[in-house]
């Protein structure tokens, strides 16, 4: 029946409309605009020509790509540390605790996210600044003679980033660990495997899609994070998003900012692809399993 097929198409179209609008208006359109911006150069007021000058600046100015590489490396380190910290937590929630205790622990992981990221990060600053809680506590206990400044170190930035990302690693890990049949672990143990071998041969292969998904999410969040590195790292943070902010807002150089934005997008895409290649997984599988 032609009418009913037409009806079906209309329904499908209406159902997809919000997603298509979302994608079109908020992602494709601004990015197209950014792309155009990044490939032009201002030669005189209100006069622009197409050029690769913005990208050339990035590669010829050592500061820019130094910050770029540093951001990438710090993000990888933060992602790996988050994984190391989140795995035992997810294991406890998914496998060791049952019922109420398990939900309670999960809620405890969730609670910090009820507070805005700004407030959470400022909380860290109150704890860590020179006249803050931790340095004065250490002095009272006689560990240090003078208060130490904990802020504005790379380690502090990492702590802040891990804290912000933890939940996004824990959730996919829990869901992939929960689907692991306990009898597989018992069977491996029964066949002579020790704890580490069980982890390596049974648990990790099973949880691999969850681990990859968590790592992708955390890596992207970290790479694109602006607030945490800026507040906790201060002038030393040298985060690439700061460079973008500076170009757009301080220097009012939208062309350069757009080029930086695109470079960051390319970086995260390449890193995710490399990560998938190394662990031998496919993006579709990873997203479907979580």
């Amino acid at each position: 029946m032609p009418t009913s097929r037409w009806h079906g198409r209309l329904t499908l179209g209406l159902l997809l409309a919000p997603a298509v609008l979302w994608l079109g208006a908020l992602i494709v359109l601004p990015h197209t605009d950014l792309a155009i911006l990044s490939f032009r150069e201002r030669v005189a007021p209100h006069r622009y020509v197409a050029s690769l000058a913005q990208y050339k600046t990035f590669f010829t100015e050592p500061l820019y790509w130094h910050v770029f590489v540093r951001t990438a490396i710090m993000s990888v380190v933060a992602t790996l540390l988050t994984l190391l910290l989140a795995f035992p937590i997810a294991w406890i929630i998914a496998k060791l605790l049952k019922g109420r205790a398990s939900s309670l622990l999960f809620i405890l992981c969730l609670i910090p996210f009820w507070v805005s990221e700004t407030v959470r990060t400022l909380g860290w600053m109150i704890l860590l600044r020179e006249s803050g809680v931790l340095p004065s506590l250490l002095m009272k206990l006689g560990v240090t003679d003078a208060p130490i400044e904990f802020l504005y170190h790379d380690a502090t930035i990492l702590v802040g980033l891990i804290y912000t990302s933890l939940l996004f690693m824990v959730i996919p890990l829990i869901s992939s660990l929960e689907s692991l049949d306990d009898s597989l672990i018992e069977a491996a143990y029964d066949l002579g495997a020790g704890g580490f071998t069980v982890l390596r041969t049974i648990v990790l292969p099973h949880a691999a899609p969850g681990i990859t998904a968590g790592c992708i999410i955390v890596f992207m969040l970290t790479l694109g994070n602006y607030l945490t590195p800026t507040l906790l790292g201060g002038k030393n943070s040298q985060w690439f998003t700061e460079q973008i902010y500076t170009q757009f807002i301080t220097r009012f150089n939208w062309e350069e900012g757009a080029a930086f934005g695109f470079l960051l997008l390319i970086l995260s895409t390449v890193m995710v692809m490399v990560g998938l290649r190394i662990t031998g997984q496919r993006f579709g599988d990873v997203m479907r399993r979580t």
Binding site: D181, S183, A187, A188, Y189, D190, L191, T201, I202, H206
Partner: protein, 369 residues
């Protein structure tokens, strides 16, 4: 018994509110097929998991191959287990599954491959090594699970209701296959099940378990023909159960009557005096069905009944009667001769059984007719 591969000595395990395994002692001879048969919740899984080492007994000792297993973790016990849902590793091929335990022993790759292929061949799965686990049928997976354990040449193979997940036809087939495998390998099997037919067909010895204890431990024939407790009589094989009070004792025979006045005779087990509450059991195949008095075996007490329904099941066909006066149900196996193929519901018939082949026990607490 000859050398025992498994000895349990007063093994006890308590959970918060109940005793799962209660001071259980038994031994399993080398190379035999031992089954633990019991209803769900009787403690058989707890017992098996204690033998495997996944839980520790509160008291008592488990000795495997002459060595006490106290404080020996599962990965160091000479015991392997076939899990209820088989627990094959989906992230590995069939060959890798079978070679898994060998790799844990530090065997080199070439030897591992050789042995796992040889083992797969012995269970009739040569050429399946490179397949994925989910490409196999239920029966094939079963064989991989057994091969994965047997390749390690364990002293003891534990099987946790491994046929439970299979459909009936395959279960019947795997039953035979399991028995043949056990005979071929000579490994001691400890098998737990709630299915009495599996236990009877497969085992050399069966322990019938209830409330954390063995009600009876013996050969399948012992359990079937010489049950020692009313639980075993009721649980192993089909049985007609009649509850009443002893009215007369005649040597080894007890005459007892139900509350509504049906009188039967059966062989006494345990101490029964006149007036005691008793439980009587008559096997469906122990009774003879007839339309005329003259055709019944001479000298047996005669009973009358009415056909309620015919239960056709090929060679296991039976007829469900109602005793003439009390309307109590009584099941009788139909002879293979086809003599009663024209039997109709509502028909009046006669039946009798040899009281020597019927059993009468002191009634358990709470037993009602």
């Amino acid at each position: 018994m000859i050398t025992a591969d498994l000895v349990a000595d007063a093994v006890t395990k308590r959970f918060a509110d109940h005793t799962a395994v209660d001071a259980l002692s038994f031994s399993v001879a080398r190379g035999s097929f031992f089954s633990i048969l019991g209803p769900s919740g009787c403690g058989k899984t707890t017992l098996l998991r204690m033998i495997a080492g996944f839980i520790a007994p509160d008291s008592g000792d488990i000795v495997i191959g002459g060595r006490s297993m106290q404080d020996v973790p599962p990965n160091r016990r000479p015991v392997n287990m076939v899990f209820q849902q088989l627990a094959l590793f989906p992230m590995m091929t069939v060959g890798e599954n079978v070679a898994f335990g060998l790799a844990r022993r530090g065997m080199d790759r070439a030897e591992r491959t050789r042995r796992s292929h040889a083992m797969l061949e012995r269970v009739g799965l040569s050429g399946a090594a490179a397949k994925r686990v989910d490409e196999l049928s239920g029966g094939q997976r079963q064989r991989v699970a057994i091969a994965r354990s047997l390749v390690l040449e364990p002293t003891l193979l534990l099987l946790d209701e491994p046929l439970g997940a299979l459909d009936l036809k395959l279960r019947e087939h795997m039953k035979i296959e399991l028995k043949q495998l056990q005979a071929a390998f000579g490994t001691t099997f400890v098998y737990i099940t709630h299915d009495q037919s599996e236990a009877l067909v497969l085992s050399d010895h069966v322990g019938v378990m209830n409330h954390g204890r063995f009600e009876q431990l013996g050969t399948p024939q012992d359990l079937y023909y010489r049950p020692q407790t009313p639980f075993v009589a009721g649980f192993v094989g089909a049985n007609n159960r009649i509850v009443g009070r002893a009215t007369r004792r005649d040597g080894e025979l007890i005459e007892f009557s139900t509350a509504d006045g049906w009188t039967l005779r059966a062989r006494a087990h345990g101490s029964i005096v006149v007036g005691d509450a008793v439980e009587g059991f008559v096997r469906p195949e122990a009774a003879t069905l007839s339309r005329q008095i003259a055709e019944l075996p001479a000298g047996q007490p005669m009973h009358a009944g009415q056909v309620q329904s015919l239960l056709f099941d090929g060679a296991n066909s039976a007829v469900l009667l109602q005793e003439a006066r009390t309307r109590r149900e009584f099941r009788i196996a139909l002879p293979q001769t086809g003599q009663f193929s024209d039997l109709k519901p509502e028909e009046q018939v006669l039946f009798s059984f040899d009281p020597e082949r019927a059993a009468c026990f002191p009634a358990r607490a709470g037993a009602t007719g």
